[in-house]
């Protein structure tokens, strides 16, 4: 098999005195889509934030390789430029900065990092139109401030739109499905499926099997109290849906 895009080894992270990640191991290979499930507070968002480089979390142990490079050494913007993308569970509003300006700045930073010329205004507009169509984002959103006054669902769709624009190597989706109505869920899922490619990997954090009906994962993990306690094929999600987390967490307790 090819080299993994993401290799996490024995990752420990804490906030203050509280250890939240307690030895996470995970390999994600090109073309794969991994789902991460687990009860509230188990550390899913923390894992995403640590990978993206949020400073609030202190990594106390372990290693993360991103395309073979030491991810934990990089600044958040370097990670992004190297191709790591996080669709936030709670996207923020950026007052006064239009979606177009924001994305143009971001995309050109990425292009600069890759040694490419910045896109000119025309090329950029065309790209925006094309990618917006993927998640049915109305072009009137381009001139609106990033996420400002967007509905919950619009914010989530905007995250996937940004993903489509920035074409990352690894996309982490933190509960992108929550807060979406059924139609929007379908739109987001279609968007993600269209963006799957042999050179790209996805880490999809979700609470609901429903999403995984549309976006079929290669692997499903259960994160519990800062550890991946179970890994299985896509059917695992169905089983969790039917039996709840207790079914796995109890066996975990025994195993510990």
């Amino acid at each position: 098999m090819a080299e993994p895009i993401l290799r996490i080894r024995n990752l420990h992270a804490r906030v203050g005195e509280t250890e939240i990640l307690r030895g996470v191991n995970l390999d994600v290979y090109p073309g794969q889509l991994h789902a991460i499930m687990g009860p509230n507070g188990s550390g899913k968002s923390t894992l995403a934030a640590v990978l993206a480089g949020r400073e609030d979390y202190e990594v106390t142990e372990g290693e993360v390789l991103f395309d073979g490079k030491n991810l934990l050494e990089m600044d958040p913007e370097e990670r992004a430029r190297e191709g790591l993308f996080l669709a936030f569970q709670y996207p923020v509003e950026i007052p006064g900065v239009s979606t177009a300006t924001f994305l143009k700045t971001a995309l050109n930073e990425l292009r600069k990092h890759r040694g490419q010329e910045p896109l000119d205004a025309m090329e950029f507009m065309n790209l925006m139109r094309e990618r917006a169509a993927l998640v049915k984002i109305d072009p009137t959103f381009f001139s609106r401030s990033v996420n400002e006054g967007f509905s919950g669902g619009e914010k989530k769709r905007n995250e996937i739109f940004q993903l489509a624009m920035l074409e990352p190597r690894l996309a982490i989706l933190d509960e992108t499905d929550s807060g979406l109505d059924i139609d929007a869920l379908k739109i987001v899922a279609d968007g993600v499926n269209a963006l799957r490619s042999p050179a790209r990997a996805f880490l999809v954090i979700t609470h609901y099997q429903r999403l995984l009906n549309y976006i079929v994962p290669d692997v499903v993990h259960v994160l519990y109290r800062g550890r991946i306690i179970k890994t299985g094929p896509k059917e695992l999600a169905l089983e969790l849906e039917a039996k709840g987390y207790e079914w796995v967490t109890e066996t975990d307790e025994v195993a510990l």
């Binding site: 993206a52 480089g53 949020r54 400073e55 600044d75 958040p76 913007e77 990670r79 992004a80 430029r81 993308f85 996080l86 936030f88 996207p91 923020v92 509003e93 950026i94 007052p95 006064g96 900065v97 239009s98 300006t101 924001f102 994305l103 700045t105 971001a106 930073e109 990425l110 990092h113 401030s145 940004q162 920035l166």
Partner: protein, 483 residues
């Protein structure tokens, strides 16, 4: 020696200062500190002023002696010892840097970030390059063109000598010498400034601009500017400032008066970037300025636009008296404070004429440990039927150690008036910055992006070249404010 005398004479007897623009070309010879009638007589004499001007100054000085320094602004500073300030500086040649390599690298870095062309950098830094002197002052370059249109644009000293009737008629007509403590001080000791008169029906074809700089240490700077747009005339005036590093506080108390006659329009734009002091607030400039315009005639318009990033302390309220019916007053402001800077700025719109309209857009940006206050007064007099005002006061906070304050005062004495006030406060927090970082945008760029968006409405009112410079300036002044 004879060269020194020569130059001194030139300065005092002509518009030398304005032709050559920059005092940093010359080292200053400073009159001993202190302020009394003798000092004022000395200033007036050195400048070769007529008797009426001397009397005007002395009258102002007597007012000043009876006045107290105002302390209502939301700023704190160690008391100013007015007797420790030197009120007159005469220039003499000094040893100048021979090339930019000899110039303070910090200053050069700022120039480069601002994108100031190399030859202008040399002038600003006081490099001895005679060939470029003329390019500094738009006044010189375009003087002939302006003259052919009947526009007068010269130094205040020259105007006092050459156009005494205009000066006597309008000087102090908007900001009377006894208006306030700092205005009285300025009236008594003002050093120089700009004078502009645009005759009836003439549209000034270029943006008039001047750069002010503060030079010798401990020399209070007292600029005096008077702009008159006669009936149906139009003029746009730019005032821009850069100042070199200083370790001592310097007082700057300028007065700007604008007069718009019937149907005239004056646009006055400022980018103020005086030395704000170091991170601890040491050594910055005190900027206590009185700026006021009067829409004297019907359907006249005065518009103030300011981008304030500098000074340790700013105390400034560009105002408009809306006397003529249907006249319009505007105030667009971006005020940035960082580190220990303090700004108390805003405007005063006084509606006297019927159907007068005013619009206030104030954008405060505070970072570091700074304090940024908006203070505005909208007054509608009983005579102002149908007056309208709209005010928008926004504050943006970067970090959580700084403060933003809004003090809107509204006095309405006419029931037909409509006065609207809107205010918002937003914050650039860690969350927003991390979000930007996660998209590959570094923190500095992110802050620049956000503040430019935030200040867009005001920046768009500036003349094009100025807007670009101002945009960069905003980013520079907020450097190191986060992360």
């Amino acid at each position: 020696m004879s060269e020194h005398v020569d130059i001194l004479d030139q300065l005092t007897a002509s518009d030398y200062e304005y032709k050559y623009g920059f005092e940093s070309q010359i080292e200053e010879e400073v009159v001993p500190p202190g302020l009394n009638e003798e000092t004022i007589r000395l200033i007036s004499e050195k400048k070769g002023e007529p008797e009426w001007m001397l009397q005007w100054r002395l009258q102002a000085f007597r007012y000043w002696q009876t006045m107290k320094e105002p302390h209502w602004a939301n700023v704190r500073y160690t008391p100013i010892d007015y007797q420790a300030i030197s009120y007159y500086a005469a220039p003499k040649r000094k040893t100048q840097p021979r090339s930019l390599d000899e110039v303070d690298p910090e200053l050069r870095r700022t120039f480069e970030k601002l994108g100031i062309p190399l030859h202008e950098q040399e002038v600003l830094a006081g490099v001895a390059v005679d060939a470029v002197l003329d390019s500094v002052s738009v006044a010189t370059t375009f003087r002939e063109k302006l003259q052919s249109l009947g526009i007068i644009f010269c130094s205040m000293s020259e105007a006092i000598r050459e156009y005494p009737d205009l000066v006597r008629k309008y000087l102090g007509s908007v900001v009377p010498p006894n208006d306030n403590f700092f205005a009285a001080l300025n009236s008594a000791v003002f050093s120089d400034g700009s004078f502009c008169y645009v005759p009836p029906g003439v549209r000034c074809p270029i943006e008039l601009s001047t750069y002010f700089r503060i030079n010798a240490r401990n020399t209070g700077q007292f600029e005096r500017t008077l702009i008159i747009a006669d009936e149906g005339a139009y003029v746009s005036y730019l005032e821009g400032c850069t100042a070199p590093m200083r370790d001592e506080n310097q007082l700057h108390a300028a007065v700007v008066e604008l007069v718009a006659l019937a149907g005239a329009e004056i646009k006055y734009s400022t980018v103020q970037n005086w030395y704000p002091g170091d991170r601890e607030g040491r050594g910055g400039i005190y900027n206590f300025v009185t700026k006021r315009g009067i829409c004297l005639g019907e359907s006249s318009k005065i518009s103030w636009t300011q981008v304030e990033t500098g000074s340790a302390i700013t105390w400034k309220y560009p105002s408009v008296i809306l006397k003529g019916d249907n006249s319009v007053g505007e105030f667009y402001s971006v005020a940035v404070t960082n580190h220990r800077q303090q700004a108390d700025t805003g405007t005063k719109m006084t509606h006297i004429g019927r159907n007068t309209r005013s619009r206030i857009v104030s954008k405060g940006i505070s970072a570091g440990y700074s304090q940024n206050s908006y203070r505005g007064l909208v007054r509608v007099n009983p005579s102002a039927d149908g007056a309208r005002n709209f005010s928008q006061c926004d504050s943006l906070l970067i970090g959580d150690k700084c403060g933003a304050h809004t003090f809107p005062y509204i006095e309405v004495h006419n029931p037909t008036a409509i006065v609207e006030h809107e205010a918002t406060t937003s914050k650039i927090g860690e969350d927003i910055l991390f979000y930007c970082n996660q998209r590959g945008i570094d923190t500095e760029t992110a802050v620049a992006l956000i503040i430019n968006g935030y200040a867009r409405e005001v920046l768009s009112k500036l003349p094009m070249e100025f807007a670009v410079e101002a945009q960069k300036l905003l980013a520079i002044s907020l450097e190191g404010s986060v992360g």
